[in-house]
Amino acid sequence: MIGWKPWLFPAPSHVLDALLGLMNIHTGFGEPISSHWPRVILEPGQHVRALAPWWGSPLMKAILVSGIRLLEGFAISVAIGAILGLLMWRFIELDRFLGPLLLGLQTLPSVCWVPLAILTLGINESGILFVLIMGSFSAIALVLRDGLRNIPPLYPRAGMMMGARGWRLYYYVLLPASLPALASSLRTGFSFAWRSLMGAELIFVVDKWRGLGFLLEAGREFSDVAQVAAVMIVMVVIGMLADRWLFAIVQRRVQTRFGLAT
């Protein structure tokens, strides 16, 4: 063991230990030398059944808190992004003005909104949501606009030929025709939203509502590299699962329906 500094570079077992520890499962993985792991560490006189259950663990609570924030913020972000995307598609003048602006906003890392959010909204839930929304709505709007522009003009023409006018043209022709665009904008928007949320939670500490970002920051404060690594892994896994198992599947379905899937 020459030069091994587990406090700088944790062994996988340390990370696993931290991860399970966050889920109220205490093992001996993290101990430097242990001949009988995995095992549950009990305080003297403590009983296994008396341990806090995994679903009440800090990690699960954090995932729940972050998940609720994400749903809240993402819903608002999708609403704003969809309306802007639609308007920019419909009114070319608006797009000339807003398009480059939103593109600029997209290049701005979402944590750059944190100082503004703290000053204007304070360190609270709305501040976090603000950062999340600012970080993701522009991507949704831009991707949706581009997708809508790719709707073949033949579809509305065919729709009009068959007597679809006004709202019916929008509802029965343009809305279904825009589904591929909508699916990819949701997918892009989600990854932006998740990243922004994690960034925001890292800095905003709202008491009682401790998200994943808070756990990451707590790991740093206690110089617990293993916990930092464990929380990062959780963030990546959640982002990946949502993308793979939710948005990719939705997108795939739409594309198959449209004959676009390869």
Binding site: P152, L154, Y155, R157, A158, G159, M160, M161, M162, G163, A164, R165, R168, Y172, V173, P176, A177, L179, R257, F258, G259
Partner: protein, 318 residues
Amino acid sequence: MRANSVSIKPIEPTPSADEARPQSHGDKRISTPSGDGVSGRGRLVLKNVSKNFPGSTVHALRDVDLVCDPGEFVVVVGPSGCGKSTLLNVAAGMLKPDSGAVSLDGQPIRAPGPERAMVFQDHGLFPWLTAAQNIEFGLKMAGVPRSDRAARVDAALKLVHLAPKRDLLIHELSGGMRQRVAIARALVMDPAVLLMDEPFAALDAQTRTLLHEQLQELWVRTRKTILFVTHSVGEAVRLADRIIVLHAHPGRIRREIKVDLAHPRNFDSADITQLVRTVRKEIEDEVNRVNAEMAETYWKPQAPGDLGADPGVMGDGI
């Protein structure tokens, strides 16, 4: 010939259809149960129609006069870029003419509508709907009750021999089947005129011939007025009662040719071949003239020696 049992009923006028059907012809509007009757509706009149696209100096259409009688199969033929599609789009109401008037059975045409059903070159079917749902779409828009829709969709599918494919998505159909669905989608609306914009141009030769035969059969059976646009003289002669040869730059009618051959036609007959030759000669000059014009302005084929750099020294200057 197959028994003419399939008839497509006219759509009941609904309050939602803001383009009222020509009521003056109400008593004459027969839902032609067999192929021998002429419905009496479907008189498409283009009068002195001119159309100029912004930014273009030449007229896409200039003073075009065209009357399609009810039940007539009119084919407009001409070189590419001569304004054929513009003509059709004006008739469909997709484009407003700069001057002149377009009317159907005495009613001026202002907007696209189901009584002037169009079949597009790229079919324009909705990929998110099945074949049957695509055909049903127009009926749904017209407010036809669900119970009536199914029967009419089935009839239309049978008309184009696609009943077994009803639940397939569009991308699961072959090119020829897609066009047949597009034709069924147009016919199910019981339009007064069928406007066809090079519908078979993207198909292979065998499929095209098959569809020519089917279209003839359909036309004989339904006796719709058809305004058909193509760049293929062979196609025009096979299908048309009357061929309109369009002149390019500016687009205007150069000649009309009556094709007095009985339907259904045998495409290999000497008559057809002879007529194709005659008409081709008619428009050959026109095609050549347009091609020469295009070549002047855009690109001229050059002899290999004139291409400038000697291929042997290619890249030397880099």
